[in-house]
Subunit: 223 residues, 2 copies
DNA sequence: CGTTGTCAAGAGCAGTGCTCTCGAAAGTGT
DNA sequence: ACACTTTCGAGAGCACTGCTCTTGACAACG
């Protein structure tokens, strides 16, 4: 049956689902993923905890929804930054996207921890999150595609990468190791800053971050 | 009062403390930090939960103790690997230490998540963990000290690093940015592998990891 | 030998995730 | 328009958590 006009029930359902997600988003930002309580979310939207289970079968499923949201949000931030720097050269676009990811992470530390910190409930989010997870990489790959391969990495290293990666990014497969390394470097640096590892190590985080971004740009052959 | 011979009470206290830590270590490895339950730890050592509070004032303090243990353990693994490769050249020693850290992380994923994942209980572990956190960096810095500075990084970047870092590592301050970047790369790569970000991205993790280790070695000027 | 400090145990509080049942709606078919 | 089915919210309840407080027993010290 084709649903052209959603019934009142369906509209109420998506509305309630959205209300739950909104409350969960707020609570995530306030107390973090570990302390996110389904009962508190229920209280916030004005219903009893058991009613929430009509919309999310478990607390982990709620968290998974938030994880996908977060991947989309950071991907969107990266894409927006890239669009804004559309006219400029590849290196400036590259650094702009890096800065946007860092800024998003600092503005949304709980969401960032959710997706790039330790998996919260054991190993909750499996396949559902994979498409959303690659968006930042896609933006960076879109810049790197114009670059030529700097050195020629070992064939064994090239073979160690999943071929889908170079294909999805539209880059030379020989660029894949450097691209993955740069991607790791971006989130490694942002994570280390956010999780306090740079305490008493890096004083001026902006300057250091820009330096790393530049190094990474060179490593993928961006002039 | 100088305690030369510990009294029976004192011996009993350290023994009980060690028993609690041992049980906590086991439970951490089994269920992870988020699900580590003080009551379950108490059950395992055969006492009631309230008694544990005589030894650790809160669950977070117990976790902090485990965090310090984990930092020490990974540092010890790095030092042991370095000692084992004592005779060899700097590059081989460098790669050996990197491999040891990765091996330790794969063998103790819960501990690794505890120290390099998102901070678990809000922002629990502050200053206590700082000394233990630097041990791996010290080992790597000890290798890099024999290297000469490859390029000459921007003065602003050099100034962005805490001067204590280069001093503690005994390296040229101009090497500090590259050293911090390499350190970030090590734990960023290990973390990404452990937390599942390389799923469907990197097929042969050993080969890729060795490649990253080699790149990092070159970046700090190791021939 | 008595005093003092330490310790384990138990009860209890407020909170959690999750399940089950029940009554009231809303939607559907005749 | 009426009966039937599905959906939904509420409430009670279970087993669990971190943590506090009180009570009674034991060891150490003067």
């Amino acid at each position: 049956m084709l649903v052209l006009v959603p019934t009142a029930r369906e509209r109420a359902r998506v509305q309630t689902t959205e209300a739950i997600l909104a409350a969960a988003r707020i609570q995530l930002a306030e107390v973090g993923a570990a302390a996110l309580s389904l009962r508190a979310v229920a209280r916030e939207v004005g219903m009893v905890s058991s009613a929430v289970y009509r919309y999310f079968p478990s607390r982990d499923e709620l968290l998974t929804a938030l994880i996908i949201e977060a991947y989309d949000a950071v991907g969107e931030a990266a894409e927006a930054a890239h669009d804004e720097a559309a006219g400029r050269g590849p290196r400036e676009r590259w650094v702009t996207v890096w800065r946007a990811v860092r800024a998003w992470a600092r503005a949304h530390p709980a969401q960032y921890s959710l997706i790039y910190g330790s998996p919260v409930p054991g190993y909750a989010a499996p396949q559902d999150t994979l498409p959303a997870a690659g968006r930042v990489g896609l933006v960076l790959g879109g810049i790197a595609v114009e670059a030529h391969v700097a050195g020629s990495p070992d064939d064994a290293v090239v073979a160690a990468m999943a071929p889908d990666v170079a294909a999805a990014l539209g880059i030379d497969p020989r660029l894949a190791p450097a691209a993955v390394t740069a991607w790791t470097m971006l989130f490694g640096t942002v994570g280390f800053e956010l999780f306090g590892q740079y305490e008493n190590v890096v004083l001026d985080r902006e300057t250091y971050f820009d330096h790393v971004a530049g190094t990474a740009a060179s490593s993928v052959g961006i002039p």
